[in-house]
């Protein structure tokens, strides 16, 4: 794989990786460094990946594993990368508090929905992946992903409604 093909088929996916890497690492400069490292890893393997049947999937998986490695170096107890969110930052103290509370509530809801549903929900709504991309990452077919996603969205909505009623 030459430099131009690498740029077109692999490096151009940097923007697609950004939301996921940012969610996991939570800092712009860390994200930039991590994406550079991911791309260098892939560049070194360019001869092998040239004939890979799903280059896009391979790039996303490499990126996810790289971020998990970084997180585990900092905190070896991290097991579930889907549930790893950086703490909200807001200049407004009241808003910060509200967001923190919301974060706690939603994380609790996410903890209680099945792992596959949660994984798909976060990939679609937070990391911004398309169905085909999620299929590459999870090795599931698109129809199955739609079912999982629909169930997850409905479950989150229901739990949030219950939570809202309870608060009132």
């Amino acid at each position: 794989m030459n430099k131009q093909r690498f740029k077109k088929e692999v490096f151009s996916l940097s923007e697609r990786l950004y939301p996921m890497v940012y969610r996991l690492l939570g800092n712009r400069s860390k994200v930039e460094d991590a994406i550079q490292e991911i791309m260098l890893k892939l560049w070194k393997k360019r001869k092998k990946i040239e004939h890979h049947p799903d280059i896009k999937g391979l790039v996303f998986l490499t990126a996810r594993n790289h971020c998990i490695d970084i997180l585990r170096k900092k905190n070896p107890e991290i097991e579930d990368s889907e549930l790893y969110f950086n703490v909200f930052k807001s200049e407004n103290g009241h808003e910060q508090l509200e967001l923190k509370e919301l974060n706690t509530v939603i994380l609790k809801i996410l903890e209680h929905i099945p792992k596959q549903q949660r994984e798909v929900l976060i990939m679609k709504d937070l990391d911004g992946f398309e169905f085909e991309e999620i299929a590459s990452l999870t090795a599931l077919n698109i129809e199955h992903i739609r079912v999982l996603l629909s169930r997850a969205r409905k479950q989150v909505r229901l739990e949030l409604k219950n939570n809202y009623c309870y608060e009132r």
Binding site: S14, R28, W43, L99, S150, L160
Partner: protein
């Protein structure tokens, strides 16, 4: 956003039939009239990172500089040159005919060396040891020059 349209969008979103643009619109426009959707949208908006402008181009520039500055190319050239040098050294040290003497030259040198020895020693053809201990050796010999006299 009108209630009807909002409800339709939420339903589409729940059934995973909404497009990315519609989901973005829903997250932006949803208000507290639907607290569950509003909370989820707030959560998503707070965690979803926006990609900086020209991110890929800037990253590529950095990446390109990095791969160009790595000494891969230099390492390759130096290792090829070193290999050639080693092969040349081995070739010249084992195959230089000037350093090796021919058979005739060796024979002539041996003859020269033999001539340098005293003649007497050369004349002693054979020695038959009669008696030998730690202090004395008794032997018999035949001398050719006696026959000449």
């Amino acid at each position: 956003m009108k209630d009807k349209r909002l409800k339709d969008l939420i339903a589409k979103y729940q059934e995973t039939q909404s497009r990315t643009a519609e989901e973005r619109l829903l997250r932006e426009r949803i208000d507290k009239s639907d607290p569950a959707m509003h909370s989820w949208s707030k959560f998503v908006n707070a965690h979803k990172a926006k990609v900086p402008e020209q991110f890929t181009d800037k990253q590529w520039e950095k990446f390109n500089k990095h791969i160009a500055s790595t000494p891969q190319f230099v390492i390759r050239i130096v290792s090829i040159a070193a290999s050639i040098l080693v092969l040349m050294t081995l070739y010249f040290s084992f195959s230089n005919p000037q350093d090796e003497l021919s058979y005739e030259e060796k024979a002539s040198l041996l003859k020269q060396a033999k001539n340098m020895l005293p003649e007497q020693n050369q004349e002693i053809a054979t020695q038959d040891i009669i008696y030998e201990d730690h202090s004395i050796i008794i032997y018999t010999t035949t001398e050719k020059n006696l026959n000449n006299d």
